[in-house]
């Protein structure tokens, strides 16, 4: 087992890693920028080292400074958390070359999954279903018609060079195809200097379902069930829950099984998350894989009763998994709400000083945060202030508990998205469990915020 872990991260996940390490009897070293000198993750670590000025590029992304800090502190492993350097294969390699333990998957796994095209190829070979589509660029009108019929309507035309929703066209009927293709291709050419298009099945109401993978260094793999992350705005997750209201036992078993089989084939190690898109018919398709611990890992911890960070550390140290798939059961229901320092209507960031703070408590309420009264939310880093996780026997009880806990949550001095979450927890499609990745858009369009926020 490791003796001393350096945490190459900040804020709540750094504190989360400290908690896990301490329960395993492992010392911790916090590294921090000058702006975070008084942060709780620095205060609660056994040791701390300032590694640079506030901009992430010069501190939390500063590889020489982090490796130097590991050396002078005598750490024997590095935990990257999420974000920052957590999915940087070169960094993982340098950590290993320096003779330190890397608490994450092997660099080759990070590299493979970091390249979307390679990841899809590898996962197709490993047996994960993929969204039907053209494997390459559409050659001409006739080629397009043939591909679209194979894929099945509706289809979406995407610019090969596009991104962020630009250069996309949804086509529902065959006779619109040629016209839409010419328009989209011309637009793509104008916007990106490249008119190449490819075609994919269009899913009207996609749900984002992800499977938590836990694997040891010896080829043993299990899954810890799913998380539903369909509550998103502009691809930013806002709320996650487990189990998903969209899955039944049979579908859960099937998604978990194919995920585990694929991971065994590529000899994945440590923790990771496979993201799937689930359509209205219960078909699921591989989207991408995150080769790190996720922000929303606590919902899985809440329903499995297993500390994922401790699991991650002990597996990185080479311990055997020692769990069977049968021993993993989801009990009750957990919901995580991301509390961000942002305007609840415009979602503009709202950094600043927290002048009053009270976190909710009581049975089944967990808050992972480094916020406190007089804590300053810094403009240099992301706007997440806290994660509130509620657990209860059933989904309706968890929703009631989340509403109750939000009533107790006091954050003054900055704006937060708590009012948004209050609306969401009352929004009928969410309450019914019939929602998808476009539900937030509809919520914002259909309902007006309550007077007085």
């Amino acid at each position: 087992m490791f003796h001393k872990i350096l945490i190459a991260n900040r804020a709540e996940i750094a504190l989360r890693i400290i908690r896990a390490a301490r329960e395993l009897g492992i010392q911790t070293v916090a590294v921090h920028s000058t702006a975070d000198a008084n942060s709780l993750h620095v205060k609660f670590a056994d040791e701390s080292l300032c590694i640079g000025p506030p901009p992430s590029k010069e501190s939390y992304l500063n590889i020489p400074a982090i490796l130097s800090a590991a050396e002078v502190s005598g750490a024997d492993a590095i935990h990257p958390g999420y974000g920052f350097l957590s999915e940087n294969a070169e960094f993982a390699e340098m950590v290993q070359h320096a003779g330190l333990g890397w608490i994450g998957p092997r660099p080759e796994m990070i590299r493979m999954m970091g390249n979307k095209v390679r990841a899809k190829e590898a996962m197709r070979e490993a047996g994960l279903p993929q969204l039907p589509g053209s494997d390459g660029v559409v050659r001409d009108d006739r080629d397009l018609v043939r591909l679209a019929e194979k894929v099945g309507f509706p289809v979406i035309l995407k610019a090969a060079a596009g991104g962020g929703g630009r250069g996309m066209k949804i086509v529902r009927e065959k006779d619109q195809l040629a016209q839409m293709y010419r328009t989209a291709s011309a637009e793509a050419l104008a916007a990106f200097g490249n008119g190449d298009m490819y075609v994919e099945r269009y899913v009207e109401r996609p749900r984002h379902i992800e499977i938590q993978i836990v694997a040891d260094e010896h080829g043993d793999v299990v899954h810890f069930g799913e998380r539903e992350c369909s509550v998103q705005r502009r691809h930013q997750k806002m709320l996650e829950e487990s189990p998903s209201p969209a899955l039944n036992e049979k579908l859960r078993e099937r998604m978990g099984r194919v995920a585990v089989e694929a991971m065994k084939k590529v000899r994945y190690n440590n923790v990771g998350t496979i993201e799937f898109l689930l359509d209205e018919r219960g078909e699921f398709f591989f989207m991408e894989m995150n080769t790190r611990i996720q922000v929303e890992h606590p919902v899985t911890e809440s329903v499995t009763g297993i500390d994922l960070l401790k699991e991650q550390i002990r597996l990185a140290a080479g311990e055997e998994l020692g769990r069977t798939q049968k021993s993993i059961a989801l009990r009750g229901h957990a919901i995580e709400l991301r509390i961000n320092a942002e305007d609840p209507i415009t979602f503009a960031p709202s950094p600043g000083l927290i002048t009053a703070y009270h976190a909710p408590g009581g049975l089944g309420v967990r808050v992972d945060s480094i916020a406190h009264e007089q804590y300053r939310v810094l403009p240099f880093y992301d706007s997440m202030v806290a994660k509130m996780i509620v657990t209860a026997d059933s989904r309706p009880a968890a929703i009631m508990r989340a509403r109750r806990a939000l009533q107790e949550y006091v954050v003054e001095g900055i704006k937060t998205n708590i009012p948004f979450h209050k609306r969401l927890l009352l929004f009928e499609p969410f309450v019914q469990g019939r929602y998808d990745t476009r539900t937030v858009e509809r919520l914002l369009a259909e309902t007006s915020p309550p007077a007085g926020g």
Partner: protein, 156 residues
């Protein structure tokens, strides 16, 4: 890149008109700056291209604010030289050498004050401005943080 190779490159560049060399080989990147006053040699080992060349940061100079009104009465315009990165602090080039600078000594701008070792590289820290050394704040061989005061000087 090993020390021998680095030495060989430096030997070739000595006496030439070259003032700057950027060299890339796969993951390895090397940046050399030559000329007067001699700038510190900065080298990064196996750093991805996107990483900043952090080791070329100049030392930070911080004016020291008077600690109390009483101290303010006594003239205090001393300043500190702070570590530009996290690493191990050395006052001499090797255990057998004398310290680069002793208390009471006056240093010129650009004079080497100490070494901060980071990732096996010895980085010479130079004076940004002249001054007389009042106090060495860090024990030889100790770890130092980014921004940690290393020396206190008074202006001359």
């Amino acid at each position: 890149m090993d020390v021998e190779k680095l030495r060989a490159i430096l030997a070739v560049l000595q006496g030439t008109e070259v003032t700057r060399l950027d060299w890339t080989n796969g993951q390895e990147r090397l940046t050399l700056r030559m000329g007067h006053p001699p700038a510190p040699v900065t080298a990064l080992h196996a750093v991805p291209a996107a990483a900043p060349t952090a080791l070329s940061t100049p030392p930070q100079v911080t004016p020291v604010a008077p600690a109390s009104p009483a101290a303010a009465a006594a003239r205090d315009d001393s300043f500190t030289v702070n570590s530009p990165f996290v690493g191990t602090f050395y006052r001499a080039a090797s255990p057998d050498n004398p310290a680069f600078v002793e208390v009471g000594q006056v240093v010129k701008k650009g004079q080497v004050l100490c070494i901060v070792e980071a990732m096996k590289l010895m980085n010479e820290i130079e004076a940004e401005q002249p001054g007389r050394l009042l106090e060495a704040l860090i024990q030889n061989g100790s770890p130092v943080e980014y921004g940690e005061p290393l020396f206190r000087f008074e202006p001359v």
